[in-house]
Structures are given as structure tokens and as C-alpha cells.
């Protein structure tokens, strides 16, 4: 039963990491931007949730998700659109600037102190099924990640805008040459990224019960590692990378002797280095990386 519990925890953490990674990958795939601001999209959505304490929880959740979308789309419209076609270095610096701006905004409005919340505290309780004990938040995370991934898969495979998004992610210039509107597809990519950040923010708060303006930093670092392992620009790769990273984290936590456990992350990232040494393009690299108009 312990094994099954650990597998469920691994899937839960992997699902969460996949959401973080997909948010990065979808923007990188279409816009070529390594969006360090994504972590602050997560924090922004989480702060909106906390600001709506007292409001019916479903309304607060919807507003937090909408806030994630809004901040991501506003960033695209207000900043990145004007830098389209700039070299990757410029876009990276711009992403850092946006990240710092959102962090400063959050600090200005909410302060830099850690904020505690009771949101999701009910989910910390275990669900007992015979001898199997599963924490509710793990189940909720799996369901949320599953719904988000399935929804995204439907969007990308079954809707015209989703197919356009995939085409643009594979070859942005060629997508434009078949009439795909660059502004529209870029906005959709950021909106999807914002929605994923919103969902990630809700789960982050529900799991930790605390929040600071820099709470999104750790998730975004994890997301980048997952994206690179999966193959930069590849959406299935981001999901695979997220699950691999999450599953391995939990496996190491469980399997390592107690005296070595503090070095878990060091061991984890050594494994990452080994993977990238033998497969520098990642596990499921994107078809091609073409220049952008």
C-alpha cells in the first residue's frame, strides 16, 4: 500500500510540475521567449485568490484563473509584442524585467511578508481507503492536472486555433505564411500560459498554505528544468519532463536513506545533468527550431 501511496504522490507532484512546465513551453514554442515572468504570473494569481477571502470559493477560484490569464495577456500586449523578432538575449532580459516589475507590484500592494491562508487546509487531511491513506490535495492536484492537460490536448488537436498554435510552435514564419495571424496566436499562447499559471498558483497555495511575492520562483525553476529535460519548445516533452522530475523527486525522497535525504535535490539535478549529457536535445525535442519573422 505504501508503494501505491507513493505512486499517487509521484503522479500528483509530476502533474503539478507538468502544469508549470507547460506554461513555459507553450510561450517558448510560439514566441521563442524564455519567460522567467511565469513564476510571477503564478504568484499574481495566488494573491488575487487570497485577496478574495470571504468571497464564495468557486468565484475566488475563477477570478484567480482569470487573473492569471489577464496578467499574461497584458504582458504580451504591453511588452513582448513590441519586441517581437528581437534576439533571444533581448527577450530574456525583457522577461527578467517583467518578472521584477510584477514582483515589485506584488510587494507594493501586499508587502513582502509571508502571508498565511486557510485556503485548501481541508485538503491536507488524508482520505482513508482501507490501509491506503491518500492526502486529498494529491487527489485534487491529479484531477486538476488531468483536466488541464486533457483540455489543452483537446484545444491543440481539435480546434482551429489550437492547430494554428501547434503550427506556429513548429514553424512560426511558415504559420504566418499560411495566414495564421501572429498577434492572435501569440495572445492565445500567453492566455493558455496564464491559465496554467493560475491553476498552478491555486495548487501552490493549497499545498503550502503560505504565499510571498517570490513563491513562484521555485516552481518556475522546476518548470525550466522540466522543459529542458523534455526538449525545449516541445509541449509533450514539457509534460514528460514534468512527470519525470516530479516522479523522481518523490522516488528519491522515499528511497534515499534518511542521512542522505537532505542531498535529494543535489542527486536529482546530478541525474538531470547526466540525462542532458547523453541527450542534450531533451527527451522529446520539437521538430525544428526555425527563425522567426
Amino acid at each position: 500500500m505504501t508503494l501505491l501511496q507513493n505512486i499517487i504522490t509521484g503522479i500528483s507532484v509530476g502533474g503539478l510540475y507538468s502544469l508549470y512546465a507547460l506554461g513555459i513551453a507553450v510561450v517558448y514554442g510560439v514566441a521563442g521567449i524564455i519567460n522567467f515572468a511565469h513564476g510571477y504570473f503564478i504568484a499574481f494569481a495566488a494573491y488575487v485568490l487570497l485577496a478574495l477571502a470571504g468571497v464564495p470559493v468557486l468565484v475566488a477560484i475563477v477570478c484567480a484563473l482569470a487573473a492569471g490569464i489577464a496578467i499574461a495577456v497584458a504582458t504580451e500586449r504591453g511588452v513582448f509584442r513590441f519586441a517581437r523578432g528581437a534576439d533571444p538575449g533581448t527577450l530574456l532580459v525583457l522577461a527578467f524585467a517583467v518578472a521584477l516589475a510584477i514582483k515589485s507590484l506584488l510587494t507594493l500592494v501586499a508587502g513582502s511578508d509571508t502571508v498565511s491562508t486557510s485556503f485548501g487546509s481541508e485538503l491536507a487531511k488524508p482520505l482513508q481507503i482501507g490501509s491506503l491513506s491518500i492526502v486529498w490535495i494529491d487527489l485534487v492536484t491529479i484531477v486538476v492536472a488531468g483536466v488541464m492537460l486533457a483540455g489543452l490536448a483537446l484545444l491543440l488537436n481539435r480546434t482551429p486555433v489550437g492547430v494554428q498554435l501547434r503550427a506556429a510552435a513548429e514553424d512560426f514564419t511558415m504559420a504566418r505564411l499560411v495566414g495564421v495571424r501572429s498577434n492572435r496566436v501569440m495572445m492565445v499562447a500567453f492566455a493558455v500560459s496564464g491559465l496554467l499559471a493560475g491553476a498552478g498558483g491555486l495548487l501552490l497555495v493549497a499545498r503550502s498554505g503560505t504565499l510571498t511575492p517570490t513563491s513562484g520562483l521555485q516552481p518556475v525553476l522546476i518548470a525550466f528544468v522540466a522543459v529542458v529535460i523534455g526538449g525545449l519548445g516541445s509541449l509533450p516533452g514539457a509534460v514528460a519532463g514534468g512527470f519525470l522530475l516530479g516522479g523522481t523527486t518523490v522516488a528519491l525522497q522515499v528511497l534515499l536513506p534518511e542521512e542522505i535525504r537532505p542531498y535529494r535535490d543535489a542527486i536529482l539535478y546530478t541525474l538531470v545533468i547526466v540525462i542532458l549529457t547523453f541527450r542534450p536535445q531533451g527527451l522529446l525535442p520539437s521538430a525544428n527550431e526555425r527563425s522567426r519573422v
Binding site: 492547430v163 513548429e170 504566418r176 526555425r290
Partner: protein, 240 residues
């Protein structure tokens, strides 16, 4: 009616001048072939027409009387200019059918162009409609690239090296398609490594070299133009 006119077109990639004052008129319902050695500026000319040139472009591009020099690639596509690029650049992760339907975005009137029309012209695409496009053979991918362009119902089709990497039999099929499209009224600009064959197909042929048009003629002077091309290529070899 679809007249495309380039006036004093220049393209620079950094310090390198790829096009140096190209003046060209593509008349409606004709095949215009551009031949010349590698690096002559043929593909750059097509990319500049389609709005997808990454270099610094100056000069005028007029399409049906409208100056489209500053228009985005997608706007030019909706105006009726479609590019089949060198290397095909199909979306390898999408299915064959998705490669076609994604090009509906390029229709100005937003009318549904049925994929069946494309399948009638290229039956093999219909047979492999749900197959991942990257798994098609080179010839099938070329048909898909042309089919994708036709989904946009263009009036001008820009074809860059459509025979590259294909077997002689498939090349002839592709060229036959080009002639059929011209006979249906489409205007075609063809960049082709097979200079002699291109000049045979074309109504007008230009030789390009060092970013300039060096010669022009109707099919009657094909042999002379091909000679010019081959001698130019020989020069390239000598200089390298």
C-alpha cells in the same frame, strides 16, 4: 488578374547585399522562372515577395495596383500570394489534414475550402489524411506543401525549388501540376535548380546572378539562358 511588380528591390543580410536593385513584372496567368547559381538571390526574391525575408528590404512591391511592401506575410497571403518554400516546411507534427486545414486561415473571404478539392488533385494526400505529415515521403510532402498553398486559393503561387530531392518521375508530376495550375489561370513564379526544365515550362525566364537580373527571354531563347546559367555556375566553381 494578378500582376506582381517589383521595383528597385534591395535586400541586405547585414553587410551582405542579397538583392541589388531587382526590377521585375510578373504578368497574370504566366509562369515566370528564375534561374541562376546558388546565392544569386532567387529564393530571397520569393521570400521578399511573400513578406518573409529576414533581411533588410527596400524598394517597392506592388500587387494588383496596391503597394504591399510593408504588409505582413499573413496580409499578403490573404491578398492572394502563397509561398511553397524551399524544403517544403510542412508542419511535420500535424496530420496531413491539419496541414491543409490550418491554411484556411489564409483565406481572405474566410470561405471554407474543402480539403476534398485538394485530395482530388493529389489523391495520395487523401489516402494519408490522418497520417503525421513528417512521415510522408519527399514527393508526398511536396504535394502537401503545394496543396497547403492551394487551400488559400492564391492567385499568385511562389514555388521555391519544388524538385529538390525528388526522383525524376515525381519531379515530372510536380512540374505537370505547375503547368496545370497555370492553365487554370494561376500566376506562378518558379525558382528551380533544373534550369533547362524550368525554362521549358516557363512563359518568361530570367537569369539571376549576384542579386541582379542578368537576362530575360521567352521560351524560344531557353537554350541561351540555360547556357548563361551553366556558365555562371561554372564561374562559381572556379571562384570557390
Amino acid at each position: 488578374m494578378s500582376r506582381l511588380e517589383l521595383s528597385d528591390l534591395h535586400v541586405r543580410y547585414g553587410a551582405v547585399a542579397a538583392l541589388r536593385g531587382v526590377d521585375l513584372v510578373v504578368e497574370s496567368g504566366t509562369i515566370l522562372a528564375l534561374i541562376g547559381p546558388n546565392g544569386a538571390g532567387k529564393s530571397t526574391t520569393l521570400l521578399a515577395m511573400a513578406g518573409a525575408c529576414e533581411g533588410k528590404v527596400s524598394g517597392r512591391i506592388v500587387f494588383n495596383g496596391n503597394d504591399i511592401s510593408l504588409h505582413s506575410p499573413e496580409k499578403r497571403t490573404r491578398a492572394g500570394i502563397a509561398l511553397v518554400p524551399e524544403g517544403r516546411r510542412i508542419f511535420t507534427k500535424l496530420s496531413v489534414e491539419q496541414n491543409l486545414t490550418v491554411a484556411r486561415a489564409g483565406r481572405a473571404d474566410r470561405a471554407e475550402v474543402e480539403v476534398e478539392e485538394i485530395y482530388e488533385r493529389f489523391p495520395v494526400l487523401g489516402d494519408f489524411a490522418s497520417r503525421q505529415a513528417g512521415l510522408l515521403s519527399g514527393g508526398q510532402q511536396q504535394q502537401l506543401a503545394i496543396g497547403r498553398a492551394l487551400m488559400m486559393r492564391p492567385t499568385v503561387l511562389l514555388l521555391d525549388e519544388p524538385s529538390l530531392g525528388l526522383s525524376p518521375k515525381i519531379v515530372e508530376e510536380v512540374f505537370q501540376t505547375v503547368v496545370t495550375l497555370r492553365d487554370e489561370g494561376m500566376t506562378i513564379v518558379l525558382v528551380e535548380q533544373n534550369a533547362k526544365r524550368a525554362a521549358e515550362l516557363a512563359d518568361v525566364t530570367y537569369v539571376m546572378r549576384h542579386g541582379k537580373l542578368e537576362g530575360k527571354g521567352a521560351t524560344a531563347v531557353t537554350e541561351e539562358l540555360a547556357q548563361a546559367f551553366f556558365s555562371a555556375r561554372g564561374d562559381e566553381r572556379t571562384s570557390s
